[in-house]
């Protein structure tokens, strides 16, 4: 069995070349390197852990199939395939996630939620955890196109330009979708009476 390529040793492009030279192990190293980001994008888009894993894996297979036609960087190209896969699933199923993913997780290997830094104090940590759960649920209430943009921007940390490249829409549309998504999310969190509490807590802890 071929040796596993360490993360430090190889850059993405080097691994891609190894794959093109016939090393399938190198492709699985790329999978390991990017699976978390791909899975989390699918998860937030679809709201279903199993479906997210399936779509992410299908996206990797599709990436392998089209790897010889790759031009440019691997990661944005892969994430574009992943986002397209999610869009296809949403389009075909025409359904919205109805249950917050974080509530239905039951695997013991990973923590149910990364609780806030303990230096925040137990109350702040609890509030943050509650806020994150509510956000996971609220994301399901946002239209697909807006959800995609806000996930890419505020969770995945991509720039407007990267989002535009990935989704194939112009920057103006990215901005307007992001505004609408943030506005809607704010309304949902306000309705859950979470934001006033968090804000009050922030003000109190700052004074």
């Amino acid at each position: 069995m071929p040796a596993k390529h360490t993360m430090v040793q190889y850059e993405n492009q080097q691994l891609v070349q190894l794959v093109l030279d016939g090393d399938t192990q190198a492709f699985n190293d790329l999978v390991e390197r990017h699976q978390s980001r791909a899975y989390n994008l699918c998860l937030r888009m679809l709201g279903d852990a199993d479906a997210a894993a399936d779509v992410a894996q299908d996206a990797f297979i599709s990436a392998y199939k089209h790897l010889p036609s790759l031009r440019g960087e691997f990661r944005p190209w892969l994430m574009r395939i992943v986002a397209n896969g999610c869009r296809d699933v949403l389009r075909s199923k025409k359904r919205r996630p109805s249950v917050s993913l974080d509530l239905e997780r039951d695997d013991d290997d990973t923590p149910a939620m990364q609780i806030a830094d303990t230096s925040d104090g137990p109350e702040a940590a609890l509030m943050k955890s509650e806020l994150q759960k509510t956000i996971a649920g609220a994301l399901a209430e946002i239209p697909d196109d807006q959800r995609e943009v806000i996930i890419l921007s505020d969770i995945q940390g991509l720039s407007y330009q990267e989002i535009a490249d990935m989704t194939g829409i112009n920057i103006g549309t990215v901005k307007s979708r992001l505004n609408r998504a943030r506005s809607r999310l704010r309304e949902l969190l306000m309705a859950a009476e979470l934001l006033p509490r968090v804000r009050r807590h922030t003000v109190e802890s700052n004074t």
């Binding site: 093109l20 978390s36 921007s153 505004n179 922030t202």
Partner: protein, 185 residues
């Protein structure tokens, strides 16, 4: 004294842009001035900031299973693009492509450069004895039918297409070589 006006969708757009650092310095300063005087704007901004902060600190979850793919499945997923780059086609294709493009250029170039009259004579020479016996007018008519490509736009089009294929193949080969050089560095 602070006021509390209704926040419009345009205000939210501006606040969102301010949050992302996407406002020009002048517009950002103007918005900050407005926020100092308007409590509702200030509240909305802090709510948007808190929402964004909560989004940014959303946990990164591990996939329920490893997404690694069985090598056998990967081999099955290979499409025609893989055939083009895999041995033996992958090794032969660039060389064959260049050679074929050159032949294409030479062939069509030769036909294109040839004067029309030569073709006409050749056309007359290959005609049957009965045709030779015919009048000069009919010989020329038959000859012109047998040399459709000589000096025609189609031949030049062939030269241009051949040059295009040649250029494309050379660029493609160069890209592959370049990518290999980059990955080995």
């Amino acid at each position: 004294m602070k006021t509390k006006n209704a926040v419009t969708i345009q205000d939210i757009e501006q606040l969102s842009a301010l949050l992302d650092g996407d406002l020009s310095p002048a517009n950002a300063a103007a918005m900050r001035q407005r926020m100092l005087a308007d409590e509702a704007l200030q509240d909305t901004f802090s709510e948007l900031a808190l929402t964004q902060d909560a989004m940014r600190t959303m946990p990164t979850l591990k996939p329920p299973r490893s997404l690694r793919i069985d090598p056998q499945r990967l081999h099955q997923a290979r499409g025609w693009r893989w055939w083009l780059i895999s041995p033996p086609a992958g090794q032969l294709f660039p060389t064959l492509g260049v050679a074929m493009s050159l032949c294409f250029c030479l062939l069509f170039g030769a036909v294109a450069m040839q004067p029309v009259e030569t073709h006409l004579l050749k056309g007359a020479a290959v005609t049957s004895p009965s045709t030779q016996a015919a009048s000069a007018d009919s010989v020329l008519l038959i000859a012109s039918d047998t040399t459709p490509l000589a000096g025609s736009p189609w031949a030049w089009l062939g030269v241009v297409a051949g040059a295009g294929v040649l250029g494309g193949t050379a660029r493609w080969s160069w890209q592959i070589r370049g990518r290999k050089r980059t990955s080995k560095r």
